[in-house]
């Protein structure tokens, strides 16, 4: 692909760019403690927390491991653990 002068790109490129490789801390949701309040989904800057039928999960393809969800979770249901690759 030829480069466009000025590094001009059209929208939607962040979907193609899997930022999950940046992560060195990984959020883990404890389903026992989770109250499905949805605060983690609200605060995630990368739209990487998804809910299905009230069950919350992390999209590790894009999650950069910033830890905002774990910090904000009122139930203490999210733990950050070291990423192992």
């Amino acid at each position: 692909m030829k480069l466009i002068p000025g590094a001009v790109v059209t929208g939607g490129t962040s979907l193609a760019y899997k930022t999950g490789s940046w992560r060195d801390q990984k959020p883990i949701i404890d389903r026992e403690l989770c109250k499905s309040c949805g605060i983690c989904e609200e605060v995630c800057p990368d739209d990487s927390v998804k809910a299905q039928m009230g069950i919350y999960s992390i999209d590790y393809e894009y999650c950069k491991g910033c830890g905002l969800c774990a910090y904000e979770c009122p139930a203490g249901a999210i733990q950050m653990i070291a990423e192992q690759r």
Partner: protein
């Protein structure tokens, strides 16, 4: 063609910018460029020019407004000086990378501290590595013509880089000269409206200068250099087109003045080249074979043209009003770097002259030539710059 007028340098620049029909002008006042943006503000207030005039709180914002306006597809313009230009530096680098073709008049003034409002070239030379195309002008007429051409250089789809026309503060901006003004319809034919391939549009979102990792960043940077190299031939073509409407043929990136048989050739940029030409005429009347290479376009650096003009000479004396602290003058550094592989290259001696507005007159130019000849005879292989007229007695 309109009759010639006698006007102030700043006003001539404002008339050239007006004729280019800019859509956005942003400005923050700083001497000695203030008269340019004042004139433009007056034109807009009087209804003579239809453009958005954005007053801002700093030069950083000025450059940012230009970048945004240019990305939105508007022809945009500002003028600044000295630390004002330095405050724009970050945005200029970004705009080069985003390939936003606005035009800036760099009205030359010394950089603080100590504070001075007088002219030297330290401010604009400090921007030489950014990728902005730089011209230096000798006269008000040249400033007028180059401002009209500047937009065309910048917006050429193969160049797409911001352009800076550098003119000496006070000496050019505040002096009155006879200037030949172009007719609007001629300028309109020469410079059609700016219609870029990519522009900000809410219906079709795009992003400029997007994140680049190590697999493409070098290629983006090289493509800026490559555009600069292509610009050399383009600039000559555009000068030709301008000559057809103005009758003034600037030829190329440099002007060689009486260099053909010259033994000593001075290399300089800006208004001092006018003084140097007068000094050369005097010296030639006395039998001295002296010539001048005026660098009109400094970036891209037209070293091929300079080399072919100076190759037959014994010595080159660079006369420049800037200094790279701890090393030497920028023009001398550039020239030596490009000459060093040439076995027939003349010796290059660097003269730092005119910092902070110190007068460089015919006498000082003759002394520079004399000193060059003496150094050549004595075989001194100096790489230290000579600071012209430096008062050793008061150095701390």
């Amino acid at each position: 063609m309109w009759p010639d007028v006698v006007i102030e340098g700043s006003e001539a620049v404002a008339l050239a910018v007006k004729a280019a029909r800019p859509e956005v002008i942003s400005a923050y006042p700083i001497s000695p460029q203030t008269h340019i943006v004042e004139s433009l503000a007056r034109m807009i207030a009087n209804g003579d020019l239809s453009a958005e005039y954005v007053r801002v709180e700093s030069e950083f914002s000025t450059a940012s407004v230009l970048a945004g306006a240019s990305a939105a597809g508007s022809r945009s313009y500002t003028a600044s000086s000295s630390q004002g230009l330095l405050l724009m530096t970050e945005v200029i680098y970004a705009s080069v990378g985003m390939r936003l073709p606005f035009v800036i008049t760099g009205v030359n003034r010394a950089v603080s501290a100590p504070i001075s409002i007088q002219i030297d070239h330290q401010d604009t030379i400090s921007l030489r590595d950014s990728g902005i195309i730089q011209f230096y002008v000798e006269s008000v007429q040249e400033a007028y013509d180059l401002h009209i051409a500047a937009f065309k250089f910048a917006e050429d789809p193969e160049i797409l880089l911001p352009v800076m026309v550098c003119m000496d503060g006070w000496i050019l901006t505040h002096s009155y000269e006879r200037v030949s003004i172009l007719e609007q319809q001629e300028v309109d034919k020469f410079l059609p409206p700016y219609r870029p391939l990519h522009f900000l549009n809410v219906k079709e979102p795009k992003s400029w200068g997007s994140y680049a990792e190590d697999d493409v960043l070098m290629e983006f940077k090289y493509s800026i250099h490559s555009a600069m190299l292509k610009a050399k031939a383009k600039i000559e073509e555009i000068f030709q087109e301008l000559a057809e409407i103005s009758g003034r043929d600037y030829g190329g990136l440099i002007e060689a003045y009486l260099t053909e048989d010259a033994e000593t050739i001075l290399v300089a940029l800006g208004s001092v080249t006018g003084t140097i030409k007068d000094a050369i005429d005097q010296m030639r009347a006395g039998g001295k074979k002296v010539g001048l290479v005026k660098i009109r376009c400094y970036r891209p650096f037209p070293y091929e043209d300079i080399l072919s003009a100076v190759r037959g000479a014994k010595a080159v004396a660079v006369v420049e009003a800037n200094f790279s602290m701890g090393c030497e003058g920028a023009v001398s550094l550039d020239l030596k770097a490009k000459l060093c592989g040439d076995p027939n290259a003349p010796k290059v001696i660097d003269f730092i002259a005119g910092l902070g507005g110190r007068d460089v007159n015919i006498k000082s130019v003759c002394e520079i030539v004399q000193k060059t000849e003496e150094m050549l005879r004595a075989g001194i292989a100096t790489t230290e710059s000579c600071w012209v007229g430096l008062n050793q007695a008061i150095l701390p």
